[in-house]
Amino acid sequence: MRYLPKSDFERREMLGACGVSQPEELFAHLPEAARLGRPLNLAPGISEYEIVQYFRDRAAENGNGFACFLGAGVYNHYRPVLVDTVVSRGEFLTSYTPYQAEIAQGTLTTIFEFQTMICQLTGMDVANASMYDGSTAVPEAAMMAVRATGKGRVLVARSVHPEYREVLLTYAKNQGMPVEEFGYDPETGTLDLEDLERKMDDFTAAVIVQTPNFFGIADQVKEAARIAHGRGALLVVVFTEAVSLGILEPPAEADIVAGELQSFAISPSYGGPYAGIIATREKYIRQMPGRLVGQSVDSRGNRAFCLTLATREQHIRREKATSNICTNQALIALMATVFMTVYGKQGLRELAEQNLAKAHYLAGKVKPRFSGPFFNEFVVKVGAVEDLNKQLLKKKIIGGLPLGRFYPELADSVLLCATEMTRRADMDVVADTILRAATPTEVTA
């Protein structure tokens, strides 16, 4: 096996030094009944070239060369070449969690930069070193709010990513944390603030909203904050489209921001690995889950970074920890850090403007279902959703996400996304196909 660096001669030498003649003797202490008395039923190992071929074959079974109008939490953004150049360096790729600060300053410094950039983007005071993804950041934020307020109930907007809400429910179910949903306005697609007011009570720990929301709309964070804070609850603001932060007002009224950075040079990769974040106000630092890097000095007085405030974490606090998270998404967070560095202050703005322009070009041809202001995705009522998407597939286009699976009341609608990667010609085809499929009253340009 090519990954095993010993010659048979060395192996025998080492066995001899251990006082063992056969490798099997190393396992002699295992109870007989526990041992596998046969070889694993797996094919023999294959060469590097065959491995490449195997995955090329699998890739060929996927769709190839389609233009894609799917967003819904996962976005097709260009990945600058520098990103893979940096994360392919063995020093970043093949190092462990930076517990030994003296020989991990590379990782620690980039995480410190990451935490800083996330604060700058979100308007929060502190950000952690990453969560698994946006979906698991949501229950972590809810649990954090429960600890911070001493209350127990959670109110979540239906316009938060449906799969994030499912994850929230899985976590909440066994913690005596009731979760209730509130609606969206069927005209604007923004929060139904009256429904929120009605459902608020003094036992509510967190109100969870998303912006841009699942329908792509810049939502009413300020109003949600007023209502949440009025009853002593924290406001958790979720984002799935990080590029929007290049142009949209940061959710400064939030107490906790729980987001997904997939848009920052993280390939869609059929759903992961991505990187989530939790950012918050200074006063809630000790309730935060996950790793944090802090600045300090070394014994020679030089600036140095280290993991800090670990008394929140499982390896110190065990069952009293703020979370059970250990391994996070460090390398993926580094991708996002390189992305933010490459685009920078101006580039992220320009990128956001291009996304806005593309989506609004498409929306100008097919009327969005909701009137709220949208960033790079929007809902369109198209009637026969599956028929439309079938027609588009024939034209090598993956259409928008059919919403019926998540919102029965929107079974006639799709969520369309356009990014800087979306070509005008493809948008024209999509618009054309939608307009032709629809009856004139449903869609007017």
Binding site: P5, A17, L26, F27, P31, A34, L36, P39, F55, R58, A59, E61, N62, T94, S95, Y96, P98, A101, E102, I103, Q105, G106, T109, T110, F112, Q120, D133, G134, Y171, A218, L248, E249, P268, S269, G271, G272, I285, L292, Q295, S296, S299, R300, T308, E313, R318, E319, A321, N324, I325, Q329, A330, L331, V338, T341, G344, K345, Q346, G347, P373, N389
Partner: protein, 492 residues
């Protein structure tokens, strides 16, 4: 005698914010092929932000130098042995990085129609099947993102099954040698944690277990081999005790590198377990993640697995969302797919016989280190060890030198430290896991370094206590970092 390393120049580098200057760029966007849009008009002026204060502004060449210089301040597997116990820091094959970037896999959107995702689904199905064979279990979910996430999934599965049987019960039993994620997970799953003391030989005390297991116990969470690197010799009896009282056996599979091809948890009584693909199956740690924590279960738990599940209809793969008894989702989409690709590439490269050979070498390396260091360091538990060995600083502590100091001195010899102060049942633990991907030369150098440090402690303990001496960063003041947290850069 330090012969693995020599000092060399290392470049200083400021934070990216301190290198920024207004107007510098490392990007260029294409010309827009549609009309530009006025942001204030499209979004409402109140929704449009001011510029992102402090955000980086540097050029492309400065960006690459920035990250390259920072990278050289890290130790890495590519530099040498990384003997962190419990972490299985083995070589990360580069072919895995290449295949994970295969275009139509890396750019597959999780919501693209199943007909256009058959290849991605086939990869997942093949990995599920391979992991089921390796663990001896009946079904596998690939949804969890890491070990701790797998633990949570597993405990929720147990809760769901017990609930269906009428009573979810109250407690999870956890040996005192367990990793911190185990009790933290039990708490999040809504269970009380009862710590159980290990026997004098560091393994499960089955007669004590028989006394403790009652109608309130939902499960025992056990790591096997345990965190001493010792196989739980009474695991089959433990499973019987639990099952007799209607409780389940959860196995933390972080140490599967000692068992692959040799013994299967499904054959020794385990009901549910997780694997850490970023340990046993070589996917890179990347400075802390990403990982993947698949969960393998026996048939009785299969109906409760997170939705959706892969299913075969005719000749096609599909996602089955109609899973009435499912515990629900633990993560959006289907799992850390890119990590799963790398793990499958690792399994394909080894094949069945290769995986077993890897296990043999992993155990051989650890046993060899033990034999050669036993004379110099105290071995608190004398059972046969498997893939890792745990010493204590008992002898060195008498001279005022502790495990943390020895670890720091190892850095001067060109090695990453072992795991310090874990497991908690060993006072002053030195937990060493070489993995199979270290050759004899590297291991001998490591052993010589450890012996040399033991001798230094006799002659010049201060030298060890103030280590490392050769690094660009000396010991970091972690106390001040925690007392006065500075968690982000701010302009001066």
């Amino acid at each position: 005698m330090i012969n693995k390393v020599r000092p060399h120049l290392s470049q200083n580098e400021l934070l990216v914010f301190e290198r920024s200057s207004p107007g510098k760029k490392a990007y260029q966007l294409p010309e827009l092929d549609v009309p530009a849009v006025d942001a204030a008009e499209a979004l409402g002026a109140a929704n449009v932000r001011a510029e992102i204060e402090g955000f980086p502004e540097i050029s492309e060449v400065e960006a690459i130098r920035h990250f390259t210089r920072l990278s050289t301040w890290n130790y890495a597997i590519d530099y040498g042995m990384y003997p962190l116990g419990s972490c299985t820091m083995k070589y990360n094959p580069r072919i895995n990085e290449v295949v994970a970037r295969t275009e139509a896999l890396a750019w597959a959107h999780p919501y693209q129609p199943a007909a256009l995702a058959q290849g991605s689904m086939a990869v997942m199905a093949q990995l599920e099947a391979a992991l089921a064979e390796i663990t001896g279990m009946d079904a596998v979910t690939l949804q969890p993102a890491a070990g701790a996430h797998g633990e949570l999934t597993g405990i929720l599965l147990i809760r769901a099954l017990l609930e269906k049987r009428g009573n979810p019960r109250k407690k999870i039993l956890i040996p005192d040698s367990a990793h911190g994620t185990n009790p933290a997970t039990a708490a999040i799953a809504g269970y009380a944690v009862q710590n159980i003391p290990s026997s004098a030989t560091g393994v499960l005390d089955v007669s004590a277990l028989a006394q403790i297991v009652d109608k309130d116990v939902a499960a025992l969470m056990v790591t096997n081999p345990n965190t001493l690197g010792v196989f739980e010799e009474n695991i089959i009896q433990a499973a019987e005790i639990l099952h007799k009282k209607g409780a389940m056996l959860y196995m933390d599979g972080a140490n599967m590198n000692a068992l692959v091809g040799i013994a299967r948890p499904g054959d020794f009584g385990v009901d549910v377990m997780h694997l850490n693909l970023h340990k046993t199956f070589s996917t890179p740690h990347g400075g802390g993640g990403p990982g993947a924590g698949p969960v393998a279960v026996k048939k009785v738990l299969e109906p409760f697995l997170p939705a959706p599940r892969l299913k075969r209809t005719g000749k096609k793969w599909a996602w089955d969302y109609n899973r009435k008894r499912s515990i629900g989702r633990v993560k959006a989409y289907y799992g850390n797919f890119g990590v799963l690709v790398r793990a499958l590439a690792y399994i394909l490269a080894h094949g069945g016989p290769g995986l077993r050979n890897a296990t043999v070498d992993a155990v051989l390396n650890a046993v060899y280190i033990r034999k050669r260091l036993e004379a110099y360091y105290d071995l608190p538990y004398s059972q046969a060890n498997m893939h890792e060995v745990v010493f204590s600083d008992h002898r060195q502590a008498k001279l005022g030198v502790h495990t943390g100091d020895i670890a720091k001195r190892l850095i001067d010899y060109g090695f990453h430290p072992y795991t310090v102060s874990f497991p908690l049942i060993v006072h002053g633990a030195l937990m060493i896991e070489p993995t199979e991907t270290e050759g004899k030369h590297e291991i001998d150098q490591f052993i010589e370094a450890m012996i040399s440090i033991a001798q230094e402690i006799e002659t010049d303990p201060q030298l060890v206590k103030t280590a490392p001496h050769g690094t660009r960063t000396s010991r970091v003041d972690e106390v001040t970092a925690a007392r006065k947290p500075v968690l982000r850069w701010k302009p001066a």
